[in-house]
């Protein structure tokens, strides 16, 4: 144990997990940057990073929900059921005639919406980057009206949900209800779980659209749109996954 020396500089200390003291910031990553800058303006960069981090956590959770549903799907599919009439174990998984055409159309709708969402994200990112220029005297960005990508995305997203609703109707007209067989139970369950999550994304987009009508700073809206966009892309990937599961793992 070394003796205490008031002259030992902090940089030579070894306690606290042998981590050197702060140099140009702090924390591991430059340290906590408050939601506001020292001059009182909101720190949008820090807020965006935080919101994206939150989104990663949310995506992890949603993934766990679908992973567990998938494992239930696989397990239930392979279960033998005792058949009293033949005294033998049989598979009762059953079959479902999926409305292929509708589902493919819905998939195209959702993938297109992902593209328009990306366009909306890039558009608002560009605007947010240019926004500080407005504060310079003599500089005007003009009243540039861009294509309403966000609104188009909402319409396409709602179109997907309506399309899924029709797909359910088609399933019912073909005689496949939620309790018809385990396969049909999972078709309804997985599509409903995905639709519910997508509806959450639509609410976020509507929120972003409403804020664009109010005269709020574009940087704040950019955060909502950015996070909603990544979530939306995740929803598209998730749908492809669900569709593939229902189509190929029957």
């Amino acid at each position: 144990m070394a003796t205490y020396s008031p002259t030992t500089p902090v940089s030579q200390l070894g306690r606290g997990g042998d981590v050197p003291p702060p140099s140009n910031g702090g924390g591991d990553d430059g340290g906590f940057q408050g939601s506001s800058l020292p001059n009182g303006f909101p720190n949008y960069g820090a807020r965006l990073r935080r919101a994206r981090l939150g989104l990663i956590c949310a995506i992890a959770t949603v993934s766990m929900v679908f992973i567990s549903l998938t494992s239930a799907y696989v397990v239930r599919q392979g279960l033998p059921t005792f058949d009293g009439t033949t005294n033998a174990y049989v598979r009762d998984w059953g079959m479902v005639q999926l409305p292929w055409q509708l589902l493919v159309i819905n998939t195209v709708l959702l993938l297109t919406s992902s593209l328009t969402m990306e366009a909306a994200r890039r558009d608002v990112t560009r605007r947010a980057a240019l926004a500080p220029l407005k504060s310079f005297p003599g500089i005007s960005l003009g009243d540039e009206k861009s294509f309403p990508w966000l609104e188009v995305t909402v319409v396409l997203g709602l179109g997907f949900l309506v399309g899924q609703w029709f797909a359910w109707g088609e399933l019912k007209s073909r005689g496949f209800f939620v309790d018809t067989n385990p396969n049909s139970s999972f078709v309804y369950l997985l599509t409903a779980a995905h639709a519910l999550h997508l509806a959450g994304g639509i609410i976020a987009l509507l929120w972003a659209s409403i804020t664009s009508l109010q005269h709020r700073p574009v940087e704040g809206r950019r955060i909502v749109v950015d996070v909603a966009a990544w979530y939306w892309h995740f929803m598209a990937v998730l749908w492809i996954y669900v569709f593939a599961l229902l189509a190929f793992a029957r």
Partner: protein, 576 residues
């Protein structure tokens, strides 16, 4: 997402914004704390009813009348569910974590304050929903906190399995959503809002424990949510995920082909990490308190962090050890058994590090310290029976006996509760600005420690002797009747221990209002919450963002003016 510091610079004024729908993590932490306190008294009352019924089966009790066997099952279901979700998960993480995580890392609030408020009120709705199950037709469900189908999946299976069981599942689903929102917030806050100088390896072990708990919660609660939705569908939509062909009262139910084992897998994939969700924050606070009151740095800080990570990691791989009796390939059982015993290694590392921290320390035996030592004691006593139960051959004998009840109550129940008591006695001065009464604190500690051992230790003998759990009466079976004196002893111990908890509650409320004023740093501790005012201002540090220069456990610094160095102290300390 109102994360703006400008929002936080001015505390809200109106009563509703300030105390009910507050965005302040400290108010939300206190709300969680009192919700858990309410829940623990409900849960404890239910356990008292059960213990009294076991000893005097025919007696008519006030409020509830004579306890019938089905009501006994309702009591044990609700006791377990309320305790696991609304006490063990809510208080350590939602309560103390919410209050102290932002302060300990030097942040003005949680990353997403609105989400934080939402997660508390969602938890509250979940609590109201589960309590409502008592008051509907048929009463509360009978299926135990583990909710195994087919019992839990068929409405006609018993008196509480109608609306009561639906409310039970709905409550848990809502609770899952609340916990997921909370976990998301904890993770983002810890990763992104640490003050300058607060590197990951300078975080107090409490922060590490809340962080790892949040990871477990984020990955585990989604699985329970899915499992619960499947169960609700089986109950109400006629699907057969979990239910095979079942005959109830001579009537064939509409289900066929489902597997109760599927539920067990999904449930325990959540259920085992849940055990660590309950105990990890207790480990964190114990480390914090043992170091502070021994006036020594924590022994093996890095080892403590890695041990907690290892416990969290292995926690996801051992769920099968709950199902040895459910029918399992011997090879799977072997793997689950081996992985379960692996958890003994990081647990032992933690235990020896706690002992090493106290070794040759200048120990201050104040109430928080007593409870922290009590935690270590219970962690060892409850933990040592774990490797026994991890053996499939032994588990087949001991499964569904009181041995298991004794094991998990000691380690998951009482040890975690001791962590909460330690945290309460340690942090109430900071939270409410008043010291708790030391004498009554000690009396409460010694009665509770002796009492919990007296209740739960005999359960091990009971279990080895074949004493089955979940039976409402032991009077009809000769060999079980011989065990009644042990039951009598446990019931008397439970009555005394439960009575002693009123000492705690009176001490808590008396101290909050009338206790001697606490200084900013009454325990001479080093972490950031002790650098700010008592109680902390609305934005935690009065507009100043702290800068961290040291690790969290700089105690017993030789030659220094004081025997500790605050984390924010810019002065130099020796590299010993």
């Amino acid at each position: 997402m109102a994360t703006s510091a400008t929002v936080h610079a001015h505390a809200p004024q109106g009563f509703i914004r300030k105390y009910i729908f507050s965005l302040d993590h400290k108010v939300i932490g206190i709300q969680y704390f009192f919700l858990a306190l309410t829940a623990v008294f409900v849960g404890m009352f239910l356990s008292l009813l059960m213990r009294i019924h076991l000893l005097w089966p025919g007696v008519s009790l006030p409020l509830v009348g004579e306890i019938k066997p089905e009501m006994y099952l309702s009591l044990l279901t609700m006791h377990g569910t309320i305790m696991v979700f609304f006490v063990l998960t809510t208080a350590p993480q939602g309560g103390f974590g919410n209050y102290f995580l932002p302060i300990q890392i030097g942040a003005p609030d949680m990353a997403f304050p609105v989400l934080n408020m939402l997660s508390f009120w969602t938890t509250f709705v979940a609590f109201v929903t589960i309590i409502a199950a008592f008051f509907v037709t048929g009463g509360a469900p009978l299926h135990g906190w583990t909710g195994y189908p087919p019992l839990s999946a068929i409405q006609q299976a018993g008196p509480g399995e109608g609306l009561g069981a639906d409310l039970w599942i709905t409550s848990i689903a809502i609770f899952c959503l609340a916990s997921l929102m909370g976990a998301l917030n904890f993770l983002t806050t810890t990763l992104d809002m640490r003050a300058k100088g607060m590197t990951m390896m300078r975080m107090p072990l409490t922060v590490w424990s809340w962080f790892i708990t949040a990871i477990l919660g984020l990955l585990a609660f989604g699985v329970l949510l899915s499992a619960g939705i499947l169960l609700l569908m089986d109950r109400n939509l006629g699907t057969s995920f979990y239910v095979p062909l079942v005959v109830v009262n001579g009537q064939i139910m509409g289900h066929k082909g489902g597997s109760p084992l599927l539920w067990q897998h999904l449930f325990w994939f959540f259920g085992h990490p849940e055990v660590y969700i309950a105990i990890l924050p207790g480990m964190g606070v114990t480390s914090q308190i043992l170091s502070t009151f021994s006036r020594k740095p924590i022994f093996g800080y890095k080892a403590m962090v890695y041990a907690m990570l290892a416990i969290g990691f292995f926690g996801f791989m051992v769920w099968g050890h709950h199902m040895f009796m459910s029918g399992m390939s011997p090879y799977s059982a072997f793997a689950f058994s081996l992985l379960t015993m692996c958890i003994g290694v990081p647990s032992a590392i933690k235990t020896f590090n706690w002992l090493g921290t106290m070794w040759k320390g200048h120990i201050r035996f104040q109430t928080p310290m007593l409870y922290a030592i009590g935690f270590v004691s219970l962690f060892v006593s409850g933990g040592l029976s774990g490797p026994f139960l991890a053996q499939p051959v032994l588990d087949i004998q001991l499964h569904d006996t009181y041995f298991v009840v004794g094991h998990f109550h000691l380690i998951m129940g009482v040890a975690a509760i001791f962590g909460m008591f330690a945290a309460t006695y340690y942090w109430v001065p900071k939270m409410f600005g008043r010291m708790m009464n030391e004498t009554w604190g000690r009396i409460h500690f010694f009665i509770t420690l002796a009492g919990t051992y007296a209740i739960f230790m005999p359960m091990h003998y009971l279990g080895i002797a074949g004493g089955t759990r979940r039976y409402s009466q032991y009077t009809e079976v000769a060999y079980l009747q011989k065990l009644m004196p042990i039951h009598a002893f446990m019931t008397y111990a439970a009555i005394i221990t439960i009575a002693a908890q009123f000492i705690f509650v009176i001490n808590l409320f008396w101290s909050i209002f009338k206790g001697p004023k606490a200084s900013d740093n009454p325990w001479e501790a080093t972490t950031l919450e002790w650098t700010t005012a008592t109680p902390p201002p609305h934005d935690n540090f009065n507009g100043v963002t702290p800068v961290v220069h040291h690790g969290p456990y700089e105690y017993g610094v030789p030659g220094a003016a004081r025997d500790y160095v605050m984390q924010t102290d810019p002065s130099t300390v020796p590299s010993h």
